[in-house]
Amino acid sequence: MNIGRTLAIARKQFLSVRHDPRTLALMLLAPVMAMLIFGFVFGTKPEHVPVLVVNGDSGKLAQQFIDNIDHTTLNIQNSTDANDAKNQVTDGKKTAAIIFPSDFSENTQPQILGPGKVLPPKGTKVQIFIDTTDEQLAAAVTQSLAEAGQKLVSKQNASPVTFQTDYAFPKAKDARYLDYFVAGIMVFAITVFTTLLTLLAFVGERSSGTLDRLKSTPVTEAEIVIGYELAFGAIAAIQGILLLAVAYFVYHILVVGSVFLAGLLIILTAIDAQVIGVLISAAAKRESQAVQFLPFIIFPVFLLSGIFVPVQSLPNWLKPFSYILPPTWSIDGIRDVLLRGWSISYVWPHVLILLGFAIVLSVLAVLGLKRKE
């Protein structure tokens, strides 16, 4: 082995990086960004889970129970109407409604009838009306309540608090993490593959001269972008069918709502992903440069769109980044459809937002293609 030749090879690599400052920036920035986001996402446990408390207790014990709840984990709001509280859970606005009966104080504490005459507490039940479609948030609620109950027992000498759990979405009562996870991973797969394929296709169009040739014909930029969207939308429909089939037949995931509606959300996801690919392609001259953008697609979608960790649990400063990612909306919508069984009358905002992304991004992509050089 000749050390001079070996060093010449190493030197060449450094030189090529030096001549391409963007590569250098990406090499140094992308791993740091990935590590930071990973830490923030997985380092947090669910916080500020929205719950409603209906305190019908005629005594003071329920309030003490409520004070014992970890207020960082649960974001507690009070309500006086049990039915309204339950409706808010069924509408997906709150994760749980906690309803204390009027006899809570009376039947949780031992009754002192006179000196030496103490009746053991009769016991009563706190009703929890809970949405279990997000296993992590539901677990945060039940765990916080159990801890608050234990504190009450040890501090107030009360009898153990028992809970009666009712489910906002009874069919998703036993939803597993997998049921929750599948929507995320489907959207992730379709987003990354579609963006990557479009990105490479468009960089190819630019570098091979076909884009110039297209642009010298009567075809308009809008026709090019929409033509691509039609093709990728159709491919996504087939991908969606395959992924849903695997999820259903192999993983036996819970499907409460319409698979067609889930399919529509998947197609919209693919269209959004495709236009993002077209947009990014404008910044890449070669395939090798296009590939450098991948971490910037994969990591944010992987970590911020609610695939593993509910958006609810992210630090507040990260949430806006979540909301500007189309996959966040498709994952949420698909979970609403598959687990909650929601119809279009509930998930139309998701459809509209994904459609909005598609329109705005398409306009930007068309303008990008029209950009004068």
Binding site: D212, R213, K215, S216, P218, K372, E373
Partner: protein
Amino acid sequence: MKYAVEVKDLIKDYSKEVRALDGATLKIPEGKVYGLIGPNGSGKTTMIKILAGLLAPTAGEVLVEGLNPQKEKRELHKLIGYMPQETALYNELTVKENLELFGRLYNIPRKELTDRINDLLGFVDLVKRSSTIVANLSGGMKHRASLAAALLPKPKLLILDEPTVGVDPELRATFWARFAEMQADGTTILITTHYMDEASRCEEVALINQGKIISQGAPKEIIQKTKSENLEEAFLKLTRKGGDK
């Protein structure tokens, strides 16, 4: 005389340091086979891309078929056929599929498109290869397929960027015969080349060097004017003294 292309004081800067066209002025009469001749890097492709509306000029006036290539792109693109220097075909499609795609972009009716494709495949000698994936063709074959795509819309102005690179002499002769036929039908053909022997086949040429047109006219006139043996010598003489104007 009507002109297919009128260019005046055209400037194109790619950056502060790189000026590709430096005040080029050019008139291409309708119905001519016109050559834009110059070495690599002289500004030929930049000029052609501006004419085809693919690049915006930094300054100067451009009219192609009486239209402004930037403002009246749509109308212009119905009138021109463009063959870029790169093969510019979809590698993963067959020759025929590529031609069908480009034909559809011009809204050529199906029956007519089939006829035109069959005719052009015969002309570029690719009948047997019509179902071959472009990626599997040789360089010369790709070039021929690319030419076929440019001829497909029967354009009023045909712009060909280095059309005969990698084409064997026999086929090159066929190409020129076809160009002559098209010209007889009224088509204006603008060809760039750095082959001086090929340039002599054009009725008129413009010699371009470092972004400036250094001479224009019939090849014979330029040769006579510069007291040269051939166009190559004329070009060398002109570049040495910085043009004949």
